[in-house]
C-alpha cells in the first residue's frame, strides 16, 4: 500500500506483540457503530491521479490563459524562481511548529528575519510570526485593543470590504465588543472626519483605517485622524498593502499603534484565495497582548546565538482559556515565503515594485476614463486599484470581456448600494503597456 511500509509485514508485527488480528486493536469500539467500509472510490495510482487532476485543472482558466483586472485584494503578481525553489525544500515545508528549537534553528531564524522585515516596513517595534489572513487580523486587532484599554467599542470605516466586516463581527461577538461604522466621503472616498468626530466617545477602544483603502485610495489625513484618536485615549490600527510601503510612509511614522494586513502578495501564489498570510505588528509596549506566535533571539548553553519561540505564556498551549488568541497552526510557510521574497527584493526592489504598481494604476485609470461613459468615482489619489463608474451594468460588460479572454473589475453594487454600475479595477507590476492597451481596446469594443 502507498506510503505505508508496514502493510506487508503486519502479521509479523502483530505476532511480535501477541495480538491475533488487527481488529483486536479496535475491540473497544462499540459493535453497533463499527463500519465495514467507507463509501468512497478505491484508491488510484499516482499516474491515474495525475491524469484525473489534469482533467479537472483544464476546467479552470488561470492568468496565463487570460488577462485579469479584478480588484478587491487578490491580484496576480510576479513570483521569482528563487522563492519557489527555496520553498520547495522539504526541510522547511515538512517541519512542524518549531517546539524543539535545537532541531528548528533554520525556520526559527527565518521567522525572526520575517518579523524584523515586517517591523521595518510597518514602522512598528515588533511583529508576530503570522495570522490566518489580513481579514482575521482585523478581528484579532479589535480584541487586542480591548485587552489593552478595557474599552469596548471598535470603529471601522464603512467602506472596508464586506467580508472584513462580517469576519470582524464574528471575531468580536463573544467578547461583547460593539462595532460602529464611520461614513466615507462620497466625493473623495476617504474617511469622513466630521463623522469620526461625532461618533468617537469614551468607550472607543480603537479605530481601524486602511491605507490604501478598499477603494484603492490613499488616506492622507492620517495625522489629523491620529490626533483625534489619541486625544480620545484610543488606539490607531492601520491596515496596509505591503507592496505600497516602498513608496508611502510606514504607519509607524504617523504613530499607528498596531499595523496589519494581507501578505499573500509577498511571493505567495494566488491559489484561488488561500493560503493567505495575515501580518500583525505593534508598538513594543503592547508586547504581552499580541496574538499568535512570536520568535525570539536568545543564546544556547555555550553562549551561541540561537532562536526559539518566545512569550509562549500568552498562547493557548500554556494559558488555555486565558490565552490572547486561540491560534495554534498559523501560516508559517507563507511567512517564510514573504521573508525570502522580501530578501530578494531588498529596499530598492520594494521601492521599484511599489512605483510600478502605482504607475500602472495611474496609467490604467487615465486610459479608462478617456473611454466614453467611464469615469473615476472618487477624486483622490489611488494606488493600484480604483473605482470606475461604467456606462451600464457591470455584469454585462464583464460577460463580454470574458468572451474576449479578459476578466473585468469587481462589481461593487451588491455590497455597496450607493455604488451602482461601478467596478473596482486592479492592476499590478505583472502587466505592461501592451496588456493595458489590449484591455482598453477591448473595453472600447464591447460597449
Amino acid at each position: 500500500m502507498k506510503f505505508i511500509p508496514n502493510s506487508s509485514i503486519k502479521n509479523e508485527m502483530l505476532k511480535e506483540i501477541g495480538i491475533k488480528k488487527i481488529d483486536d486493536l479496535f475491540k473497544d469500539i462499540p459493535d453497533e457503530i463499527k463500519i465495514k467500509e467507507l463509501k468512497i472510490k478505491k484508491g488510484l495510482s499516482q499516474q491515474e491521479t495525475e491524469e484525473k487532476l489534469r482533467k479537472i485543472g483544464c476546467k479552470n482558466k488561470s492568468y496565463s490563459d487570460f488577462l485579469s483586472f479584478i480588484g478587491g485584494g487578490i491580484k496576480p503578481h510576479y513570483i521569482p524562481s528563487v522563492v519557489k525553489n527555496i520553498l520547495s525544500r522539504g526541510e522547511f515545508y515538512t517541519a512542524y511548529t518549531p517546539y524543539q528549537s535545537e532541531a528548528s534553528q533554520g525556520f526559527l531564524q527565518a521567522m525572526f528575519e520575517y518579523q524584523s522585515i515586517i517591523s521595518e516596513m510597518t514602522g512598528m517595534d515588533i511583529s508576530n510570526a503570522s495570522l490566518y489572513d489580513g481579514k482575521t487580523a482585523v478581528g484579532e486587532a479589535a480584541l487586542m485593543c480591548t485587552r489593552i484599554n478595557k474599552k469596548s467599542t471598535f470603529l471601522i470605516p464603512s467602506n472596508i470590504s464586506w467580508e472584513k466586516k462580517i469576519i470582524l463581527k464574528n471575531y468580536t461577538k463573544g467578547s461583547g465588543i460593539k462595532i460602529k461604522e464611520i461614513k466615507y466621503d462620497m466625493k473623495t472616498g476617504k474617511i469622513d472626519i466630521n463623522d469620526l468626530n461625532n461618533i468617537i466617545d469614551d468607550n472607543v477602544s480603537g479605530l481601524y483605517i486602511e491605507n490604501p483603502n478598499f477603494f484603492g485610495i490613499f488616506e492622507d489625513k492620517v495625522n489629523e485622524i491620529n490626533g483625534i484618536v489619541k486625544n480620545n485615549n484610543s488606539l490607531l490600527v492601520c491596515g496596509v498593502d505591503p507592496l505600497s510601503l516602498g513608496i508611502v510612509k510606514s504607519p509607524g511614522e504617523y504613530d499607528a499603534d498596531i499595523v496589519i494586513g494581507e501578505g499573500r502578495s509577498l511571493g505567495n501564489a494566488m491559489d484561488f484565495g488561500g493560503s493567505t498570510l495575515g501580518f500583525f505588528a505593534s508598538k513594543k509596549e503592547y508586547i504581552r497582548q499580541i496574538p499568535g506566535r512570536i520568535i525570539g533571539m536568545t543564546k544556547d548553553l555555550e553562549g551561541r546565538k540561537s532562536f526559539c519561540m518566545s512569550l509562549q505564556t500568552r498562547e493557548q498551549h500554556i494559558r488555555r482559556g486565558r490565552a490572547t488568541s486561540n491560534i495554534c497552526t498559523n501560516e508559517g510557510l507563507c511567512s517564510l515565503t514573504a521573508a525570502v521574497y522580501l530578501s530578494w527584493l531588498g529596499s530598492n526592489g520594494l521601492y521599484d515594485i511599489g512605483k510600478k504598481n502605482f504607475e500602472n494604476g495611474q496609467k490604467l485609470a487615465k486610459k479608462i476614463t478617456k473611454i466614453n461613459g467611464f469615469e473615476k468615482v472618487f477624486s483622490s489619489v489611488h494606488f493600484n486599484e480604483f473605482v470606475v463608474k461604467c456606462p451600464y451594468v457591470v455584469d454585462k460588460i464583464n460577460k463580454k470581456l470574458l468572451e474576449r479572454q479578459i476578466q473585468g473589475g469587481l462589481s461593487l453594487e451588491e455590497h455597496y448600494p450607493d455604488l451602482k454600475d461601478t467596478m473596482l479595477i486592479g492592476i499590478t507590476e505583472l502587466y505592461n503597456d501592451e496588456d493595458i492597451d489590449r484591455f482598453i481596446g477591448t473595453l472600447e469594443e464591447v460597449i
Binding site: M1, F3, I4, I17, I19, L25, F26, K27, D28, P30, I35, K42, L44, T49, L53, I56, N60, S62, G73, I74, P76, V82, F92, Y99, S101, E102, A103, S104, M111, S116, E120, D125, S127, S130, D133, E163, N170, G174, S175, D220, V248, S250, D271, G274, T276, I287, I294, T298, E302, N326, G332, L333, C334, L336, V340, S343, G346, S347, N348, F358
Partner: protein, 479 residues
C-alpha cells in the same frame, strides 16, 4: 553518529550589501504619506539569498529528514505528487474573484472534497473555510451559539471539556464568549460519566471531546456520553485531531457528534509548513446546516456555483473559501488512497503505535498510566526516571535529537506527569520504529550526565528559552 549541519549563519541584515539605496520620493503621492525615509531591509544579491536560506534549511528538521512522532500532530509523510499538482498554474494562478465559469475545476474539487469528508466522518454537510484546527473549533463554537440562539435558548453560556483536552479547545470556546468547565478524567483516563452528568445542565451549550482522546484511548462509553449530552439539550463537539486512528473503522457522526472539525494537515497528509498553512474543515448534522458559513459550493446540472443566499448563516470567518491549496492537496491524497487505503492508514497507524508501546513497556524505565489498549498514539511517563536519576521528559527529548530523531510531544496531556506523547503514524517502517524504541530505551540506561547535557549533535546546544521570554529580542533592531 548523527550530526546536524552547523552554520554560523549571520542574520540577514548583517549580510553585506553592495547596492546603494536610490529612491526618489514620488511627487504625485500626498506629502503627508509620501515615503522619504529608507526602509531598513538589506539589498543583497540573489546568490546570497539562495545560500542564506539553503543553509538555514539544512539546520531544520522535517518529515523529509526523518521520523517525527509528535503526539497529536500526525506527522506523516507528505506525498510529493500533492505538492506538484497544487503548483500547476491551472490551480495556483486562479483568482478567488474571477467568474465562476472559469473556475469550475476548483469548485469541483471543493464540492467533491466536502462529500468525501462527510462520508469519512458520517456528517451531512461540510464547510471548508477554517484555516486550521483551532479556527474550525472557533467556527464550531459560533455554530453552537447560532443554534441555541435560533432555539431561543439564551441561557446556555457554558462549555464543558475534559482535563485531557487540547489547549485550543478552551481558548476557542473562550474566544467565542463561553465560560469553561473542565472535568476530571476517571481512572481509565476517559470521561467520568458521573461527573459529566452532574456538570451538564440547562446552561450547557456544548461538550467538546476528542475521540480517541489525547491519551490515545478510545472513549468506549461514547454512546452513553452522547445520550447524556443531548438529553441536557447541549451539543456534542468532536475535535478531529485524532482522526488518523479511526478512518474506515468508526465515524464521529455515528458516535453522536453534532459538529466535527478535521485537520487536513494531520490526517490527510498535507504538510505542516513549519506551522501552517493548515486547514480545519467543519462538518455538521442536518439541523445545523443552515448556520454554515457562506459562500457554499452548490451543483446544478453539472455546473458548480458559489451560493451566498443563506439568511441564517453565521457569515464568514476567513477570506474567500479557506486555504484552497491545502484543500486541493487533501483531495489528491484521498483520491490516491481511496476507501481501502484510508482504512489501511488507520489500521497501520494503530498497529505501529501499539507495537512501539508494547516493546517499550517490556523494559523498565518508562511507565504508562491509565488503560492499556491505545489507538494511534500513547503517552509514557518519565516520572520514574526523574525520581531515580533526575532525568526529565525534556532531557529525554533533547537526547533523542542527538540521534537525529525528532522527540515526541512532551508535557501533554497535563494529567500525565513528565509525559512523552508518541504518535508514530502509518508512514514509518518497522526498522525505523525499532531504532526509535532502541534509542529511547538506551537513553533511560545512559549516564544521566550525558542526557542532562544533551543535545550535542545539533546546530546549537540547549537553547535558553527562559531568557528569550525574560529579555525578548524579537527583531534585529532589538539586538
Amino acid at each position: 553518529m548523527y550530526h546536524s549541519a552547523i552554520y554560523d549563519e549571520t542574520v540577514l541584515n548583517e549580510i553585506e550589501s553592495q547596492k546603494k539605496y536610490k529612491i526618489e520620493p514620488i511627487k504625485k503621492i500626498p506629502s503627508s504619506i509620501r515615503r522619504t525615509k529608507k526602509i531598513d531591509i538589506p539589498d543583497i544579491d540573489e546568490t546570497q539569498v539562495v545560500r542564506h536560506f539553503t543553509r538555514l534549511s539544512q539546520m531544520n528538521y522535517g518529515i523529509d529528514t526523518g521520523i517525527y512522532p509528535l503526539g497529536s500532530c500526525t506527522m506523516k509523510y507528505n506525498p510529493k505528487i500533492c505538492e506538484e499538482i497544487t503548483r500547476w498554474p491551472c490551480f495556483s494562478c486562479t483568482n478567488p474573484n474571477q467568474h465562476v465559469s472559469t473556475v469550475q475545476g476548483n469548485l469541483q474539487v471543493m464540492y467533491e472534497l466536502e462529500r468525501m469528508l462527510s462520508e469519512i466522518t458520517g456528517m451531512q454537510y461540510f464547510s471548508l473555510q477554517p484555516a486550521a484546527g483551532a479556527h474550525g473549533e472557533f467556527l464550531g463554537m459560533l455554530l453552537t451559539r447560532a443554534y441555541h440562539e435560533n432555539n431561543n435558548d439564551k441561557i446556555r453560556d457554558e462549555v464543558i471539556l475534559p482535563d485531557t483536552s487540547h489547549g485550543t479547545n478552551p481558548a476557542s470556546a473562550s474566544m467565542a464568549g463561553y465560560k469553561l468547565i473542565e472535568i476530571a478524567s476517571n481512572n481509565d483516563g476517559t470521561v467520568d460519566l458521573e461527573i459529566l452528568e452532574k456538570t451538564l445542565s440547562e446552561k450547557t451549550a456544548c461538550f467538546m471531546l476528542t475521540n480517541p482522546n489525547t491519551l490515545g484511548i478510545f472513549e468506549d462509553e461514547i454512546l452513553e456520553i452522547s445520550k447524556m449530552v443531548h438529553k441536557s439539550g447541549a451539543l456534542l463537539y468532536y475535535d478531529g485531531a485524532n482522526t488518523n486512528a479511526i478512518m474506515g473503522k468508526v465515524r464521529p457522526g455515528d458516535m453522536g457528534f453534532d459538529i466535527v472539525h478535521l485537520n487536513l494537515h494531520k490526517t490527510f497528509a498535507t504538510p505542516h509548513g513549519g506551522g501552517g498553512p493548515g486547514s480545519g474543515p467543519v462538518g455538521v448534522k442536518k439541523r445545523l446546516e443552515k448556520f454554515l458559513p457562506i459562500p457554499r459550493v452548490i451543483k446544478k446540472q453539472d455546473e458548480y456555483y458559489l451560493e451566498n443566499n443563506y439568511p441564517d448563516s453565521i457569515g464568514k470567518i476567513k477570506s474567500f473559501y479557506g486555504n484552497f491549496s491545502v484543500l486541493l492537496k487533501a483531495y489528491i491524497y484521498i483520491t490516491l488512497m481511496g476507501s481501502d487505503g484510508l482504512k489501511e492508514v488507520s489500521e497501520i497507524a494503530v498497529l505501529n503505535s501499539n507495537y512501539m508501546k508494547t516493546k517499550i513497556l517490556k523494559n523498565k524505565g518508562y511507565e504508562m498510566p491509565y488503560k492499556d489498549l491505545r489507538k494511534h498514539e500513547f503517552v509514557l511517563s518519565c516520572e520514574k526516571l526523574k525520581r531515580e536519576i533526575n532525568i526529565t521528559a525534556k532531557d529525554v527529548a533533547k537526547r533523542l535529537l542527538d540521534h537525529g530523531m525528532h522527540p515526541p510531544t512532551i508535557y501533554f496531556p497535563l494529567i500525565v506527569k513528565e509525559a512523552l506523547m508518541i504518535e508514530p503514524t502509518e508512514t514509518e517502517s518497522k526498522k525505523d520504529l525499532d531504532k526509535y524504541i532502541e534509542t529511547l530505551l538506551k537513553i533511560a540506561d545512559e549516564n544521566p550526565e550525558i542526557v542532562k547535557n544533551s543535545p550535542k549533535n545539533t546546530s546549537v546546544k540547549r537553547v535558553d528559552e527562559i531568557n528569550a521570554t525574560k529579555n525578548p529580542i524579537l527583531t534585529w533592531k532589538m539586538k
